[in-house]
């Protein structure tokens, strides 16, 4: 099939950027979206034009690197990562618009590549259990009810891609942050630092310039891993109970 691609090109962080249009033909329905871009890049290279830069790595939907905003939706029309999106989801002759994630806290570095290190700093603020290597109890000494372990795993599946931020009109990182807060608040291992964790991670999220949550649910609808907004509700509870009873801050 043939497609027309409208792609955001931006030389570097300080460049203003703009759309460029590229026709592509010989697109096979079995190609992944990124393989379609690979083919475009080979063609551009042949013509001596700078290839389109985009983040990608595992191409199995788990590393969270890929991040395109396709036809107005993060990761495109399906609830999956861009690398798992295949061209059978598009029609012959279609125009496809490809943009980077748009959020103040995710500045564009080049073309479709953005800086998501804000997510790392949110985790550094408290997304862990403070245990050092060694000196921990036997694994089976910490029983966890299966239902709780499953809920924690549901939250832990977040791949940190940032689609939730890109989908949100406020560019809020509540779904990302709450997934980690929830995972550790649910598990017995996370109890000791439960309050400080919620407070610190929320504070860092705000400091990074992410917006507030107004419960529109766009994040959940676009999350390729199906992370539920009930995690946001849980984080709100964690946060409120922490601020009214905090011993630490």
């Amino acid at each position: 099939m043939q497609l027309t691609l409208k792609i955001w090109r931006q030389k570097n962080a300080s460049d203003k950027g703009g759309f460029a249009t590229y026709p592509v033909d010989h697109v096979s329905k079995d190609m992944s979206f990124l393989e379609m871009l690979d083919v475009l890049n080979e063609e551009l290279t042949e013509k001596g034009q700078d290839p389109v830069h985009f983040d990608h790595d595992c191409r199995e939907g788990i590393c969270g690197s890929c991040s395109l905003y396709i036809n107005g939706k993060p990761h495109g029309p399906l609830q999956t990562t861009t690398c798992q999106l295949h061209m059978r989801s598009f029609n012959d002759g279609e125009t496809v618009t490809i943009e980077p994630w748009r959020a103040k806290a995710f500045p564009v570095l080049k073309d479709l590549v953005v800086d998501r290190s804000a997510f790392d700093r949110i985790i550094q603020a408290g997304g862990y259990v403070s245990v050092g290597t060694g000196g921990v109890p036997d694994a089976n000494e910490i029983p966890v009810p299966k239902t709780i372990a499953d809920l924690a795993m549901d939250a832990a599946q977040c791949i940190g891609c940032g689609a939730c931020v890109a989908a949100c009109k406020n560019a809020s990182a509540m779904l990302f942050t709450s997934a980690k807060v929830s995972q550790l608040a649910l598990l017995p291992q996370g109890q000791v630092e439960r309050k400080t964790r919620a407070e610190k991670m929320v504070a860092q999220m705000d400091a990074e310039g992410f917006g507030a949550c107004t419960n529109t649910g766009a994040c959940e609808a676009e999350c390729p891993k199906g992370i539920s907004i009930t995690n946001i509700a849980r984080m709100n509870r964690e946060y409120f109970s922490a601020v009214v009873s905090s011993e630490n801050l």
């Binding site: 042949e46 700078d50 295949h86 570095l109 590549v113 998501r116 985790i123 921990v136 832990a156």
Partner: protein
């Protein structure tokens, strides 16, 4: 140079304990005077960086990714082995050790493997304490599954995303140390060279992938935790960015490269669909617990199937050949990876392949769904089934999956001694980047175990022994060796940018991949290998004369990044061929057509080849020199590996 493995004397079960006691210690006040560089932030790198920082060392952690959490360990699906014997089914440290040595076709060091099995139990404790949400039983205790190459259930898992959860656990420990100021993180930084002063590793040269700045960093020890080199085959289950560059540059500085031809071809991957294919997707080995592998019993039925004249579900039971169950009744579908892969190749070579290209076999869940219900199968493998459907457009609950072997893991890597130190003093290699524990074939769920064992529980002890013998004085960043190494990196960059030829970097990568897959893949022969060697030499010449790298150094330039990596892959490819040629036996993943039993199984030659092949770099376009470390087996008896 005589390769000294530094394996401690004494009974197997006491070696590690004794060695830890005999290793020198660095006192807590002095630890903060040492700098350690960790390159790579996967399971091995993140766990090492976090553990060393907790001890008090100053750690600098480098990754070419935008975040440590993106490392390819994240994609491991099935699980992690540990000799916990929680299932009361006869597991023990010795059994895990024995299974791993046997699974590796007796080409791994006994002492290393035993240590791995010994610390495996502590890894699970550590991960649980971090909040890794492993699968649980209703009583709240941990659940296990069985895996290829073992007859006990010792694999811990978190749905089909075990690697993700373990990496996020290690990443959280690393993040905690970043917050504490004990780890300085350098994302989007690629290691370009090791800097040696007076024969010791004293730092690295990196390229900042955003600005192109070539930077130098000092350290008292350097840890390479940079993963495997499966992408030498172009198509593999590795991530697109996985590369050999860090290990290869270290090799060129004097670190021996061990058993480079030992590569693992994983039996359960989604088959290739066309020329545009950029990577292959693994379907976890755990699927073989419930899925049955088969092809049509005759060529004729297979042909009809390929032409679409019959449907797979219409093929009668008696017309199906469950070839693994038939040939290996005691292990059945759970034979080790090398055996499963080779047999899939055999049936496809016979013309019984089931997809359009004739290179696929079925993995069928019909009987498991009938036995256990769809809901139970979905709870075990739901995400894998979804992924399969996403990629192929077919529903594996309704029709069998199609699978074919693909390059997945590299057992070879930098040669290391028992302390994980390479032949360069002060330079260590951990995880898949080293060669040490899996011999000629790795068992499923053992890579995660090794990465974390090296990082959490081995290096924190062994690095002290080296650092205690090094003065903790700061290293001069302006030492001429740093300036020289940085200059060399800059020259190489400008050389690549200057060529301005006609062929893309991917053209060379694909071509290399084809040569390697055809001649150094699932089956190898002297004739094919010699032909491949000549082709690779020619490819190298062509690359440096005609590659086209656009753009400049001073910007984010993915083509330039890849050009460096592909140039190194080409050189590695030649060494793999040399290694495969010189190993005139078949063992594990290395199958030489000339050396097989009448039933087509790998035929080892223990008398002549029970050694580690460690290769020394001798200079540009020179043949490398082979050094042999004999493998001594005192606790297991070498037998023809049988899974019948």
């Amino acid at each position: 140079m005589i390769l000294d493995s530094k394996i401690p004397a004494g009974p197997l079960a006491e070696k590690w304990t004794k060695h830890k006691f005999n290793s020198k210690l660095v006192n807590p006040a002095n630890k903060r005077k040492y700098e350690v560089i960790v390159v790579g932030t996967g399971l091995a790198g993140a766990s090492a960086a976090a553990s060393l920082a907790e001890l008090g060392y100053n750690v600098k952690a480098f990754t070419f990714h935008d975040s440590p959490r993106r490392a390819h360990s994240i994609a491991a699906q099935g699980g992690i082995n540990a000799a916990k014997n929680y299932q009361n089914d006869g597991d023990s440290v010795f059994r895990l050790f024995y299974d791993t040595v046997k699974g590796g076709d007796y080409r791994a060091r006994e002492a290393n493997v035993y240590r791995l099995a010994e610390v495996s139990v502590k890894i699970i404790d550590q991960c649980v304490a971090q909040g890794v949400p492993f699968a649980r039983e209703y009583g709240g205790l941990l659940s296990n599954r069985s895996f290829g190459g073992a007859q006990v259930s010792r694999t811990f898992y978190a749905r089909g995303q075990t690697g993700q959860q373990l990496l996020l656990g290690a990443y959280s420990a690393l993040s905690r140390q970043v917050a504490n100021g004990k780890v300085k993180l350098y994302p989007r930084s690629e290691m370009m060279d090791v800097v040696m002063i007076d024969g010791q590793a004293r730092g690295i040269v990196t390229r900042n992938l955003i600005t192109g700045a070539v930077e130098t960093h000092t350290a008292h020890a350097v840890l390479l935790c940079t993963g495997g080199y499966g992408n030498v085959f172009y198509l593999s289950t590795n991530a697109m960015g996985s590369n050999v560059t860090a290990a290869w540059r270290a090799h060129k500085r004097g670190a021996y490269f061990a058993n480079p031809c030992f590569t693992q071809i994983h039996p359960t991957c989604i088959p290739v669909s066309g020329d545009h294919q950029s990577k292959l997707t693994l379907m976890s080995e755990s699927l073989r617990n419930d899925g049955r592998v088969w092809v049509p019993a005759t060529k004729e039925t297979a042909e009809k199937l390929r032409k679409g004249e019959i449907k797979v579900n219409d093929i009668k039971e008696e017309d199906r050949d469950y070839f693994l169950e038939r040939k290996y009744p005691s292990f059945g579908n759970l034979v080790p990876r090398d055996v499963a892969s080779r047999n899939a190749k055999y049936v496809c070579d016979e013309g019984r392949g089931v997809n359009e290209t004739g290179e696929a076999v079925f993995l069928d869940f019909r009987d498991a769904i009938k036995r256990d219900t769809k809901a139970i199968i979905a709870s075990k493998y739901g995400n894998l089934f979804d992924m399969y459907k996403q990629i192929t457009g077919e529903d594996p609950y309704q029709v069998p999956m199609m699978i074919y072997p693909a390059v997945h893991y590299t057992m070879g890597g930098l040669w290391v001694d028992y302390n994980l130190m390479t032949t360069i003093p002060g330079l260590y290699a951990l995880g898949e980047a080293n060669f040490s524990d899996h011999g000629a074939n790795r068992l499923g769920a053992s890579a995660l175990m090794q990465g974390l064992a090296d990082g959490y529980f081995v290096i924190p002890y062994t690095i002290g022994d080296y650092l205690a013998q090094t003065l903790p004085k700061s290293i001069d960043a302006n030492h001429p060796e740093f300036i020289k190494a940085a200059e060399e990196v800059k020259n190489r960059i400008s050389q690549l940018l200057k060529i301005n030829g006609k062929k893309s970097v991917d053209y060379f990568h694909k071509k290399l991949g084809k040569i390697m897959w055809n001649e150094c893949g699932m089956a190898r022969s002297a004739e094919g290998l010699k032909k491949a060697k000549a082709e690779i030499k020619e490819l190298k010449r062509d690359f440096w004369a005609d590659v086209k790298v656009l753009g400049t150094n001073e910007e984010l330039n993915l083509t330039l990044e890849k050009a460096h990596r592909v140039a190194d892959f080409i050189e590695l490819g030649e060494l793999m061929i040399d290694d495969a040629l010189s190993r005139e036996e078949s063992c594990g993943g290395h199958f030489r057509e000339e050396y097989q039993t009448p039933e087509g199984e790998a035929l080892r030659d223990d008398e002549n080849f029970a050694y580690v092949a460690a290769w020394k770099y001798m200079g540009e376009n020179q043949e490398e020199e082979l050094h042999k470390e004999p493998l001594v087996f005192e606790n297991v008896k070498l037998t023809q590996r049988s899974y019948k």
